[in-house]
Symmetry: C2
Subunit: 360 residues, 2 copies
């Protein structure tokens, strides 16, 4: 239906995947699996099966404008929403909503990250259709929930009002932030909690209403430009006003507070490629549990390592390592324990501070 729209969030800097993901070339633009398509392209391709091509938007940082154009040359310039500053996902969602509303006030929108792996794509697309139909009829903020397979501390959780079965839409009782391990174990064992996939569906008026209610400072800023959206003046308006937006996620700013949040629980073979650990979990492994990601490697007495050298010509020769991340890209070689990967942001910050921006 031509009232269906998709917004792909592709502005992240991917610091948890440093150094593979760099400020100037973050992970959504990388051909992660060596398939010839980047994560962004894979996400775009996925949505073209269900959303009209001209209704697909990419929300990204303006420094990635060229990259997006190169990777998705079929997009019109107006389909790339360029943000002058990083302000997390809530302002991105708001900008897209205001823009799309100016084009079509009856729009139903699915907002999705650009770095997810979805293996059961047919199931996913079917559920997306179901979800878009639901939000067309209901002023609901709908999220896609995943039944947890482990006490993961890297995702937010959604507590359902009902112990759902797959494919049912239920009201959400609680929307939580990333838990610590103890809490994650409780969530996992309860059967009531689901991973927040970060994929959201709503009609455009419902989300703009939610902004007015829960993030009015953002709404009021975009309201200033309400007549400017989808005109040649939009770019200058955004350049001027977007930086004023609060730096906040849509999850924390709205989903955790709103009262009309619903969940569609689905089993779509989903993985959030947000961390090296998640990649390790899903990628193919050799007989010793190592994951050489598109990397030529010789491994001796080594187990459970992720090896990712961005230069395909380079050979990694590794002996006697257990459970490390070995990642190299550009001017950085990182070796750290898989269990300590949450410190990668700290390493990146230290690198930038001690040696300069070119190590970001």
């Amino acid at each position: 239906m031509t009232n269906n729209y998709c917004v792909i969030l592709a502005g992240g800097i991917g610091s948890r995947f440093w150094p593979f993901s760099r400020a100037t070339y973050p992970k959504q633009f990388l051909d992660f699996f060596g398939t010839g398509r980047s994560l962004l392209q894979i996400t775009y391709d996925r949505f073209t099966k269900i959303i009209p091509k001209e209704n697909i938007y990419i929300a990204t940082n303006e420094s990635y404008s060229d990259l997006v154009h190169q990777q998705l040359p079929q997009l019109k310039g107006s389909q790339i929403l360029l943000e002058p500053k990083r302000r997390n996902t809530a302002p991105s969602v708001a900008y897209a909503a205001y823009h799309i509303r100016a084009i079509n006030p009856d729009a139903n929108i699915i907002v999705a990250p650009s770095d997810h792996l979805i293996l059961k794509e047919d199931v996913f697309l079917e559920e997306v259709r179901k979800g878009l139909d639901f939000v067309k009829e209901n002023d609901a903020l709908l999220t896609m929930g995943i039944r947890p397979s482990r006490p993961e501390t890297g995702y937010g959780y959604i507590q359902s009002c009902d112990l759902t079965t797959d494919g049912i839409i239920t009201k959400v009782k609680t929307f939580t932030e990333k838990p610590n391990l103890d809490l994650a174990k409780i969530f996992y064992e309860s059967g009531e909690f689901f991973w927040n996939s970060g994929i959201f569906l709503w009609n455009v008026n419902a989300i703009i209403d939610a902004f007015h209610k829960y993030l009015p400072e953002i709404a009021v800023r975009f309201d200033l430009g309400a007549p400017i959206f989808n005109t040649p003046e939009e770019h200058a308006f955004i350049h001027q006003n977007f930086p004023y937006c609060l730096n906040i996620s849509i999850d924390y700013g709205i989903m955790e507070k709103a009262e009309n949040v619903y969940m569609l629980c689905i089993d779509m073979g989903w993985a959030d490629l947000g961390t090296w650990g998640s990649l390790f979990d899903i990628a193919d492994k050799d007989a010793n549990g190592n994951t050489p990601l598109k990397t030529k490697a010789l491994l001796y007495e080594s187990n459970g390592n992720v090896i990712a050298l961005n230069d395909p010509k380079r050979l990694a020769v590794i002996q006697g390592l257990q459970d490390y991340i070995i990642a190299e890209s550009g001017n950085v070689l990182l070796i750290c324990k898989r269990e300590d990967e949450q410190r990668i942001k700290e390493f990146m910050a230290d690198a930038q501070m001690k040696f300069g921006d070119e190590f970001q």
Copy 2:
């Protein structure tokens, strides 16, 4: 004195230092310590203090001809002895001897590797003078021995007939190959055994005689060209005949068998930079015992590692590693335990076999 000559052996492929040392650019040509001079240049500089410049020869593989010229532009072409094939040190020594004899049958020669660190250079040069005087008067094969500081399994040993004090020349009882650890401990504790430094002195007739006696197949081959040495035909003769030479070390082929072997034991602050381990022993360490060799590095919970990234712009970020070698050069990244470094040759061979010559 103009009868004194020096031959620097610089044809090695440095496989134990792979990947830092590459077949196309082995370690003797690297600026190992970031001083602006390569190991070869440092060795050359050292000998110019005692040997006339025109009497210094470099024996090397013909593929390194340009490198040697670039690094030692003051040499005449005739001072670079180019070998078409690698045949270890005995043929190199023979070639140099026959060439120098054709120039000066009264020559006294010191033969030295190009990858040694000698910290007490004044002591060294004084002992070299002493040694050259000795071989001028005696048909002896003189070697420089080092009092061992540990039960090293990476060097050959020399058993002296006397428990020597430094600076004395004694007759050698035994000249051994690299021992295993048990034997090395015995040698170390005995007080009679000294490290074979691989630095040799002899007069040119003594060494050619030794070849006739102990490696006659090599001598007879060079005898074929006796009138050709030091003429324009020498190059073609060597190109044709050198490949026939047995692939054997001077230590094994002659020193271990001859009966006129003598040793000069000296304390010259010596290290053979033949292995990563030796480098680790001598290089500066940070507070955690890590050795980042001219490499930008951030180290977290890591101790006892050697880090050598040949690209000076690259940053190494290392967390949770104890006692590893992390070395990168060109198209190879190597990570292995320091204690297993003797397997590096095996890794290099596997890399070449599995992925091709460009990984050699």
